[in-house]
Symmetry: D2
Subunit: 421 residues, 4 copies
């Protein structure tokens, strides 16, 4: 199978161990990802950012292909026997494609609203374990194969660097989404150079013979690694935490809370159960996607409940909440209380119309960091990189309070902790 | 309003005559275009091609802005008084944004299946004339403004070159979609250079003083114009008529015909009326989008009618019809009959499972061609361009017959007119 | 060795059979190519086009690397034993790097002026055969290796498709220069897609077992091949035959003729011998480059001979000849005679100040065309491609007459055969 | 005049105040910049980086054009009378084009070797003040015009933000070269987004009415400004201080010192005077360029003095010095002494064969930083940007010791302060 992709160019899955990707692509579970936008509501602020989880899944599998090729080279250079067996490579390709299988409507956006039972990791696991078309493709590879794929998706594999290749620090998931999201939003000048990054990887042999630890070559790689972390930070600041995007999410949050409070809103049974936090079958979960949610919300705009109707119409017609920036250390409760007073005076129920949004982005978050090698010397990444050391000292904080535009106009001077415009 | 776009980079609507675009963007009619994919089913073959009519509408308005700027320059160079009044410029911006307002689910794909009442031009006109949010924005500009916008959308304006700027030969619609579709499909190396094309435009003064006729400068422009027509041809061959994309459309065509034959299929009333060819209110039409259609088709996969159920499941799970190429002049009826026999023998009703697809693309189609000026000399485009003369001699013909994979396997040797693989 | 290249991105020569490239790069003969601009005088019209033969040589070696990788894949698919032995691959890499070794000052520009003894193929051969650093690197690979490299540079090799890979139809030379020249001139939107082109190649097995014939796959490849020929035509029209670039070459032509007529002009002995058409040693030839020529011309601007001095100053300061377009079939002698009269009347010797430039570009020039395969059916390229058939019917003709600006002003109305502006 | 540029696309100088650029482009002083490479010896490590000062000068003028357009917009928004008069805009265009007029062979490389009399600012001033073709173009604009241009080149103008537009923090010089150098070296993924940067500029009105102070808008601009400084740091680390590039410069340094010590080396008189630090006329200076220097060095490879001959041959054939990294705070004298011992033992005179290279790059170097505005609030850039605050705490230090390869092999273990590989 040969595809063209705006981000990676020619994408080929033609080797024997890549055949599994081709088979998986045609399963209904994977095809469903076409109906789920990668960036949830970000296309409200970035009209080009309409790409789906499906395009990302294909991209992640392509990056895995390149990662495996680089690892094969490095193992050759180590003079060691190859530690990635063909069936491991095949499992890694499948894991890369399937790593986000469980995402629900609007990707992370909705997940955040719907509570722990909606976590995509939970659903990814259930969908991989269930007796369905995806599992059938995996099981055709023999006993143990599906288990190996599940292990890789969740970070477990005897070869250390492979364990982290789907979900780690420089995993194929991130490498694809940072590039793809930058490309599609038009914030294109990222510092992320995947070619250079892969090229700068090294394997430092382990004494126990279980392959090598991933490292980067100082001469070539330090800039590439720093660029990766900077690109990630830049995407958070410019896209993922864009104030208008978060403003849309706050409206959505309000309407989901309201729908839940009302209990019995119209819509497909699966969606109603999902909102109510009731258990869902896999089939029911798979029936949910962006279109189903949007259709339901459009219908709710005519609901009898004025709050659900108003929030749904706002969401549909893009009359989103507006925000004011809060100081990093402002008291969120005090801010909320002040805005709530104004909202109430204007007839808005603050439970649904006022929200404080605080996210702290740690540049090196979750990172099992590679070490840096200069010749034979190994160094911690933070020791080698002055730039990352500087950046890791304090998280980047997004702290804003959201409310309807008229509330903002009246409340601006009264909310404690507001900074700037 | 300042946006970022993967195709055009920074997009700004900040001038007074661009304010209308900002207001229109927030109407529900325009926001609905977010839910309609530009290329219908093409993302089945090109995973990146998930962009919507909305992104294209914004892009078309951006190209109009640049077109107007170039025209202002050229009019200045003519020494004539400007013939594009500010209110014309404003109407042109609105017309560029709204030109596709009436598109229905899957853009052209569904339109082709649903008959004349579904033509997007029809619905664009109705949506512009109806008393709704878009019309309210236009009417705020004063009496006559909405009429001017409708005129421009349908190619009428006293200034000849402006009349063709929304829908003509080098219209803003095509300039955006050729670029955007190439970009998003990853078939990126098009010959289309909008900067150079705009730069190579000239205005040849008309004796009657109604502005000038659009021309291109030989030295600079001939290559640009040729590149434009080649880019268009290339997109037809590589994307719009891609055999797998058409294969999906043939499945969709079968299932729509079946749904219509059954008469009473489940689904939202608007969709059922639409399929039945019954008259629709604007509100009902506006409720239709890609998600509504996909949701209905997914439900039909469980329908009692085995044909509707099978075709719906094929569509959802991407088990599309396969094809064989026919000679340009092959007899479509003979081919269809031969395939129908095989289909019937395998238990497939040929009405829904066999289709011949024939499209002839004329490179210069619909083109009121600009003339070419070399100094003071005017020349017809076809006289000046040997390349276009050669290309215009015969259309490019897409001619294939579609059927289920098993039918193809059995029928391959028996269908008359099949060429090659 | 790992390099970065603006055209190809990451360029790696790390495999054993690529080691020869690394060694050759450091020879003085190859390093000299840094001092020779790829496009001669084109940077006068395209300020960015300052790239050297050296950058192109590296790029051609990179494309060869990718070509060899694709051939290995195709041979694997044929099920045949590999026909490209490791030493052939090594020779091919060397040949790609060295194919232009003999270029002299300003590449093709000067070559055209200096007569047959200056042909770069002649000098490439001499430099490959001479006992110098390049030869030493080749000879270290064993007896016969240098001969194999020379054979490949000049189109001879037992494996047919390899014989044409350095200098043929889709040779690595052209694939690099079409991309690089487009990129550096900023005429970037070429239709050339090397990834897609390589991917669409096929090998059709030969009965005699000497490997396969190169073919393209209809479904994938026809567009790619057509795009390649269109890109080539586009570069000729927009860049290689740009009227200002040719205007500079005509000035250079005049001054070289004058210098030769004067016989004894100052300058390095090698340059003087070269101009006089006297035999040169390889060492003398290697001492010539763009800088040496420019330095000499700058000095000649102060020469006693007024013609040489004037032409040299014009060249240095970019007061180039201007041109008028001639009809394809205009009589060049009649045009020249008319312009010569005016030139003479203004005190310009027509021998040096008037020149007719006629170049006919045949789109498929020199092309041993690949066939097209549709499944098992082979077709001639011209049979399969209506576009190329159309284009091959008549060459694109560049026909202009050049002279100083004042002569053009006075002669414009008097030269027979002038068309347009 | 309309040009194409690989970096900026279409470049147009067609407005009345841009006419001066077109006239200046044809002067011999500006044309000479074609013969001087922008990045000196960097093309040794980055084969694509062969662009000249001329291409950069055109690019800087283009960025100035865009800067002036943005300023006109901002002044309009201030409601103030325009403070950039047409003749100021014209002078600014000329200054942008001419800002590097005085660069000598290999740009900064040679300048650093040749002492204070070779500083390009010195020669830019002399060339602008001298009675030559450039001055003639400027003087045709009326008395005082040339003075205004000189003022702008050296940072003086009554309008504060214009004074810094040629040479300041976000000056047109840097904006072009950061983009161009990144593009041509193939280290393309810079964070520099000129569109966004210009768009995020603001003018904060001054009480005294002399226009406004340049600021950036927090919401839009902070990322853009940070990206600019990161791009600059990245170019220093990856390109300007690349160890192989500096290795070439060290060889050149040695041979220049040796040539000076010998006193009377062959070569053009201007070059000999330049090397000897003797005063030069403008005409003599203008005769120097990369080609002249390279020609001389090639000749010196046959010189009687073995040191000059060896270093010249090394330079020509790219047998450059190799290096070892030193700790930031290593004692350079101790390192040099240790390497000198080994060099001497191998027969190399350390004066010419051993060099310590230490450069400290301060991220915010020389920056009169813009303030950041959040609504009505002004903030210092370092206060607003945690990222820049972190980065400004310590300079990035390049510290290496250079010597011939054989010396490095023997000295590696003996040089104090060496870190890593």
């Amino acid at each position: 199978m040969i595809l063209r992709d705006p981000v990676h160019g020619l994408v080929r899955f033609t080797a024997p161990h890549e055949r599994v990707v081709v088979e998986l692509l045609d399963t209904p579970e994977v095809q469903r990802l076409r109906r789920i936008r990668m960036l949830g509501l970000a296309s409200l602020a970035f009209p080009g950012a309409e790409h789906s989880r499906f395009a990302h899944a294909v991209g992640a599998a392509h990056v895995m292909k390149r990662y495996l090729a680089r690892m094969a080279e490095l193992e050759g250079a180590l003079g060691s026997a190859a530690t990635i067996a063909p069936e491991d490579a095949e499992a890694a390709m499948a894991a890369a494609l399937l790593h986000d299988l469980g995402h629900g409507p609007l990707s992370h956006t909705f997940e955040a609203l719907a509570g722990p039972a909606a976590r995509h990791e939970h659903w990814t696991r259930r969908l991989l374990e269930r007796d369905g078309p995806v599992r059938a493709v995996l099981d055709r590879r023999g006993p143990g194969f599906a288990g190996r794929v599940v292990g890789l998706v969740f970070g477990r594999h005897p070869v250390a660097h492979l364990a982290r290749s789907v979900s780690g620090t420089f995993d194929v998931d991130r490498l694809d989404y940072l590039l793809r999201d930058a490309y599609m939003t038009g914030t294109r000048y990222g510092l992320l150079d995947v070619d250079w990054l892969l090229q700068s990887l090294r394997l430092v042999p382990r004494p126990d013979g279980t392959g090598g630890d991933l490292a980067v070559d100082d001469e070539k790689g330090l800039s590439a690694v720093e660029g990766y972390f900077l690109a990630r930070l830049s995407m958070y600041r410019q896209v993922y935490l864009h104030k208008a995007v978060r403003g849309a999410e706050m409206v959505l949050g309000g309407l989901v809370r309201r729908a839940r409070a009302l209990g019995d809103v119209p819509g497909p049974p699966a969606l109603r159960a999902f909102l109510a936090g009731e258990p869902l079958t896999c089939e029911a979960y798979l029936s949910l996607d962006d279109g189903v949610l949007a259709t339901a919300i459009a219908a709710w705009a005519g609901h009898d409940d004025p709050i659900l109707a108003d929030l749904s119409a706002r969401f549909r017609d893009r009359r989103l909440f507006k925000s004011l920036p809060l100081a990093d250390d402002a008291d969120p409760e005090a801010a909320r209380a002040a805005a709530a007073d104004v909202a109430q005076a204007q007839g808005f129920d603050p439970t649904y119309y006022v929200a404080v949004d605080r996210v702290a982005v740690h540049v090196l978050e979750g990172a099992e960091l590679p070490c840096v090698v200069r010749g034979a010397v190994r160094q911690d990444l933070l020791e080698a990189s002055q730039l990352l050391r500087s950046l890791s000292q304090r998280p980047f904080v997004h702290h804003r309070i959201y409310m309807p535009e008229t509330v903002r106009a009246a409340a601006r001077e009264r909310i404690p902790g507001v900074v700037g415009g």
